[in-house]
Amino acid sequence: MNAASWLLRRLIHAAGLLLAVLVLNFVLIHAAPGDPAVVIAGEMGGASTEVMDKIRADYGLDQTLPVQLLRYLGRVVGGDLGHSFYFNRPVASLVAERMGATALLVVSAILTAFVLGTWLGILAARRPRGLAAQLVAVFSVAGFAAPVFWTGMMLLLLFASTLPIFPVSGMEDVGRPKLGFAHAIDVAHHLVLPAMTLALVYIAQYSRQSRAGMLAALAADYIRTARAKGLGEGRVVYRHALRNALIPVITIAGLQFGQVLAGAVLVETVYSWPGLGRLAYESILRRDSPTLLGILLGSALMVILANLATDAAYRLADPRMRGA
């Protein structure tokens, strides 16, 4: 299959998934106990009659359900995800401006976990009884069991008072310039703790996976050939074996985007990172359903895009996949 038709099929598939998410959003609003207008308004501390009437008219709540669904889908296609009565702003712009911060956090965490996990996995594969192998064993249980919001708060405690080398809250310093290299450094500095907290959960998984992949790769014939040619051990491991050992890790890392995103909701809350998760926390406090539903849609969109990117990367990296 050529690249264009592959991409077209993938895009249609992605659009179908997004449509399903929208239908789910609609069903949830109507399945929730109580008047849908009240659900949409959220607990605003008594929305006025005019506001409620406007919601009923906007959403066509006096029409039949299929008509309402079509109207809802039509609005979303037009870029209207509803109005947040708490923030008093359109949900679409609220969600859109927070997506970048969350994407930055999630991608940094996955990359950190990928690099550290692969490295630990290689060390563990080369020396099965060494320190790295034992670290991997401990990490693989502790990483699964530690509640990420609690780990975050423990790190926050450590870095807020005892070892104040990383900022523990927000994404940038108020007084710093918002432009250029200095700003990038400032954001990166704020990113260290949230990304590290989130990465800890996945370092274990990736190290296990890369250890297994590495053990399999090191046993392969082409490695014996490489060694027989007289290549140095570092070159054998890092240039020849690693490439093949990494393919399964890349697949897992890409497909886990959604899971990491869910973890980011908790981590953002702990570190006041201004992304979708922090927004979700604020909208829960105000029972702001349109915003929360918009976040669900926005995060599903991010997961779909991440899966698409993983597939594409995979296709590029592994020529065997191009026929599939």
């Binding site: 998934l17 998410v21 699964f144 990420v148 609690w150 869910a262 909701v265 908790l266 669900l296 599903a300």
Partner: protein, 281 residues
């Protein structure tokens, strides 16, 4: 039970696994503390027993929270909600996952394609956000929390069971059962499922741990049952006081960490015992 039966061999392998034994002992202690602890300790978790945020001492071993309530008393009671929701949610999740996976793997074809589409859809939605929406719209209670966790977290089990069914249904003893005139339901539940039980048990154990963490996360965000103390709720309520009173957050988190860790160690032990080839990996 014959000493050489596979079950007995697995049980012996499990009992000889030190990590799994540590997990079993810790879990037993945590369950015991939650069941009998509150009565033995004798302090009501909602009573104000001292000044707010007083550090751990001989009076209150784990200190007091921002209102002056005893942290240890709340931890002892809080484990009940976490464990109850964790086990219930895991049961729901494993039931849905097993049903979907078994049907998809057994029927194949169009039904399989349709069920896998549904599974894929649920994988696209970040589980925690999905559960947050459901709990908020349907009002937080232990029931809605357990249901929502179960409903959003079954996809892994479904894929696992489907793979087992696809593998097992080609084997001869399934053909034999069919030739004997066994019904589809009998083949699914009495013939294939018991043979695919080993990975399912491991995944169910880990699902309990994951569901407890999930409950902790929801309660931390303020989406647990507001009338029931749980470890996540304690951490969420005290988070603003973390820097002034570390004990209010550290101890409930340690309780959750230790409990999930014990479940994970047991799960790994069961895995190694049922599948000796994977031991040590």
């Amino acid at each position: 039970m014959n000493a050489r039966s596979p079950t007995a061999r697995a049980a012996r392998a499990f009992l000889r696994n030190p990590a799994a034994m540590v997990g079993l002992v810790v879990l037993a202690l945590m369950v015991l503390a939650s069941v009998a602890g509150p009565a033995l300790y004798g302090v009501d978790a909602i009573d104000i027993v001292g000044p707010p945020m007083s550090p751990p001492d001989g009076e209150a071993w784990f200190g007091t929270d921002y209102l002056g309530r005893d942290i240890l008393a709340a931890i002892l009671v809080g484990g009940r909600a976490t464990m109850l929701v964790g086990v219930t949610a895991a049961l729901i999740s494993v039931s849905i996952g097993t049903t979907v996976g078994a049907l998809a793997g057994y029927l194949e074809g169009l039904a399989d394609a349709a069920l896998m589409r549904v599974t894929e859809f649920f994988q696209v939605l970040p589980a925690l956000l999905f559960a947050m929406v459901v709990v908020m719209l349907f009002r937080p209670s232990l029931v809605t929390v357990a249901l929502s966790i179960g409903v959003v977290s079954w996809t892994g089990t479904a894929r696992l069971v489907r793979a087992e069914f696809l593998r097992l249904k080609r084997l001869e003893f399934i053909e034999a059962a069919r030739a004997e005139g066994a019904t589809h339901a009998r083949i699914i539940f009495r013939v294939i499922l018991p043979n695919g039980m080993a990975p399912l048990i491991v995944s169910a154990t880990l699902a309990v741990g994951a569901a407890m963490l999930f409950e902790g996360g929801l309660s931390f965000l303020g989406l647990g049952d507001p009338n029931v103390i749980s470890w996540g709720l304690m951490i969420g309520q005290n988070r603003s006081y973390l820097l002034d009173a570390w004990w209010t957050v550290t101890f409930p988190g340690l309780a959750l960490f230790a409990t999930v860790m014990s479940v994970a160690l047991i799960g790994d032990g069961v895995n190694d015992a049922l599948d000796p080839r994977s031991a040590g990996s």
